[in-house]
């Protein structure tokens, strides 16, 4: 069944009419193409192999209205880690809010622009990178995003420049609508940075469709933390594409603790030797949450390593999906690639679909993968009980410890503590 996309086609036409000057910008043909692709792709159904276990169509029975970000809302924004010294970039309904953003690193403002600013100036640099990694011909939500995202974040760090402070990107969704947000990040040669992403939703039943493209130049390093913790009924779709040049390192931690539907696509491609990435994820599903992580590491060059560690706790009727692909191309000799997905089912009605997918075309490689799912260890629970800890608390303690392994991978200590507090709260624990 193909969904009737008329409301989005109408919305797109309306947007086009209001674009006036932008029609001369290189963004215009890109958007037209993206919309055409989206019209072909539509919203994925369960028959699509990549969307088999996650009923995303359930959330798109009625197409949510596309956020109309021309009106700057006057709202009080909830604060995110106010005590953490950081360069803060805030977007409201996908549009950069200068008023709410602040930079503390000297010189950082020379390396940040809003995408809209870059589009208006028809900046050729932005078009060297924009939409080069995401595939709008194949990725439904990437196409939707490219068609509708009007603004976003463009961080372009020059060579040998590492901000002293982390960069926080907060995306605020103000209503029960669909926000298409976009990040374009280029980390220059031998530069390093820390990016922390967070979505804040003001309402239940909101939709956030993010598209992020990250380029790591030679010897660049990025710590990237994505926090999905709004305890609301949300639909979050996150498409992140990373391209690494030689000697670069990408460390990601994705923490998914909020409700309803989360789909994270994280794709890393190596375009040089001696690259390394660590992709870590923690997900905790409750009630009827659906949390789906689709990971791809594409080893295209020799002498690279990659590590995936995803851990899930699934309670009530929640369902998790882990799909971890590792491609090792013919040229990618001396590859070391590891993957592990561990799950604890806290209820008989919770479920996990885990699928490792290794495609190896080189012969001199080390690859391993493993997936586990099970209940909490009875022997461990009994041991704790005999020490005076009730079964419920013993479960909480062991679950927390299980989750904490991923929290420890977060680069920033304040963010670690932020996540720990949420977990302790969810498990009703004090330590």
């Amino acid at each position: 069944m193909t969904k009737d996309l008329t409301p989005y086609i109408t919305a797109f036409d309306l947007m086009e009419q209001n674009m006036n000057g932008l029609k001369n910008s290189s963004i215009y043909p890109l958007r037209l193409k993206a919309m055409a692709e989206f019209e072909k792709l539509g919203i994925p159904s369960n028959r699509h192999e990549e969307w088999k276990y996650i009923k995303v169509s359930r959330f798109f029975k009625e197409l949510p209205a596309i956020a109309n970000p021309t009106i700057e809302p006057s709202i009080d924004l909830p604060e995110f880690l106010p005590s953490l010294k950081a360069n803060r970039i805030v977007c409201i309904d996908g549009v950069y809010s200068e008023k709410n953003s602040s930079f503390i690193d000297e010189g950082f403002n020379s390396y940040f622009r809003s995408l809209q600013h870059a589009y208006n100036a028809n900046d050729p640099i932005v078009f060297n990178y924009l939409n080069k990694l995401l595939k709008i011909e194949e990725q439904h939500f990437a196409a939707l995003n490219m068609a509708f995202a009007q603004d976003g974040v463009f961080i372009h760090l020059p060579d040998n420049f590492s901000p002293d402070f982390p960069i926080i990107i907060v995306n605020v969704v103000t209503g029960k609508h669909l926000v298409n947000s976009r990040n374009l990040v280029v980390i220059g040669e031998s530069s390093s940075a820390q990016i922390i992403e967070k979505v804040i939703s003001m309402e239940d039943s909101a939709y956030h469709n993010a598209a992020t493209e990250i380029y790591l130049q030679e010897n660049a390093k990025l710590h990237h933390t994505v926090i999905q913790d709004e305890r609301k009924d949300l639909c979050l779709i996150n498409n992140t594409e990373v391209l690494q040049k030689r000697d670069s390192q990408y460390n990601a931690v994705t923490v998914s603790l909020n409700g309803s539907l989360i789909r994270n696509n994280l794709h890393v491609r190596y375009d040089g030797e001696n690259c390394d990435c660590h992709l870590n994820g923690l997900y905790f599903g409750r009630s009827s949450d659906l949390i789906d992580n689709h990971i791809l590491v594409d080893h295209r060059k020799p002498n690279c390593t990659s590590n995936q560690l995803y851990k899930g706790l699934l309670d009530d009727k929640s369902e998790g999906v882990f799909n971890g692909k590792i491609f090792v191309r013919e040229d990618a000799q001396k590859t070391n690639a590891f993957q592990s997905n561990q799950n604890i089912l806290l209820s008989d009605n919770a479920g996990i679909n885990t699928k490792p997918q290794l495609e190896i075309f080189a012969d001199d490689v080390k690859c391993s993968h493993g997936a586990t799912s099970g209940q909490l260890n009875d022997e461990a629970l009994f041991y704790l009980q005999t020490r005076g800890i009730s079964k419920e608390r013993a479960k909480a303690l062991v679950s927390y410890a299980f989750a904490n392994e991923i929290v420890e991978k977060i680069e920033n200590e304040s963010v670690q503590n932020y996540v720990r507090e949420i977990l302790l709260d969810l498990f009703e624990l004090t330590l």
Binding site: E379, A380, L384, T386, G388, S390, K391, A401, F402, E405
Partner: protein, 250 residues
């Protein structure tokens, strides 16, 4: 303190304990010996409250209360402690957090405020010295990567921290060399008072050279078939279990 009367226990339909009787008073040390499969560990588990066993008959009274009505953690709050034969490794749960949680849960049950951090540290330092444990182990995960000897000493440390009234020690001597055995035994002996009692389950007489029992019981086919003083343990060490089996089966 502990009165076990006609206790019968089975697992998956197989009878393990059959009309077992045992009486333990404060200040006493009881040793329970017996061949493999005689039901020693089952007895320890049932007293501590493991729920995979079916109690088909009899009762366990502890300080006048029916122990079988209580959850394992409630038994612990009332002073029952089980030192495990195979202490469980729990990754990610730090020794410190675990020990603090155990102590505070007990204090809460007794209507006391949580332990003050300074007092806790002082206490743990003291007790670790008692069992000669490396203080660095406190920042490690519970039992994770501990050597066999460290795990057993950790059991005694926990016992010392929780100050139980009734401690069941399930083959605490298994896998220990003589030095570790002495340390463990010293730990136990220093915790002995006229108020608390120990039930020491063991295969070998060796441990009883260090922890001297008031009574020795032989468990065979799910029943206590012979009781005596410490000389019974020496006799067993000398003659093995065959004569007991023959006597029972005669």
């Amino acid at each position: 303190m502990l009165e076990i009367k006609n206790l019968s226990v089975s697992i998956d339909g197989h009878s393990i304990l059959d009309n077992l009787n045992l009486s333990v008073k404060p200040g006493e040390v009881h040793a329970i010996m017996g061949p493999n499969g005689s039901g020693k560990s089952t007895l320890a588990s049932v007293i501590a409250g493991r729920d995979e066993y079916d109690v088909n008959g009899g009762k366990i009274e502890y300080q006048g209360e029916d122990l079988l009505d209580l959850d394992p953690h409630e038994r612990a709050h009332k002073g029952v402690f089980l030192a495990f034969q195979y202490p469980v490794e729990i990754p990610g749960v730090s020794m410190t957090n675990f020990m603090k949680a155990a102590i505070n849960e007990k204090r809460k049950a007794l209507g006391q405020d949580p332990v003050v951090a300074k007092d806790f540290l002082k206490m743990i330092k003291e007790k670790m010295a008692l069992v000669k444990m490396d203080p660095k182990l406190m920042s490690r995960s519970l039992n994770e990567g501990f050597s066999g000897g460290e795990k057993k000493r950790n059991e005694i440390l926990q016992m010392a921290m929780l100050e139980p009234k009734l401690a069941i020690m399930d083959e605490t001597d298994s896998g220990l060399d003589i030095d570790a055995l002495r340390i463990v035994a010293n730990g136990v002996n220093s915790l002995r008072t006229s108020e608390n009692a120990f039930v020491v389950i063991t295969h070998y007489q060796r441990l009883l050279d260090y922890i001297v029992p008031d009574y020795v019981h032989i468990l065979y086919n799910g029943q206590i078939v012979k009781s005596g003083d410490k000389s019974l343990a020496l006799e067993l060490d000398d003659k093995g279990y065959e004569w007991v089996k023959e006597e029972v089966n005669a």
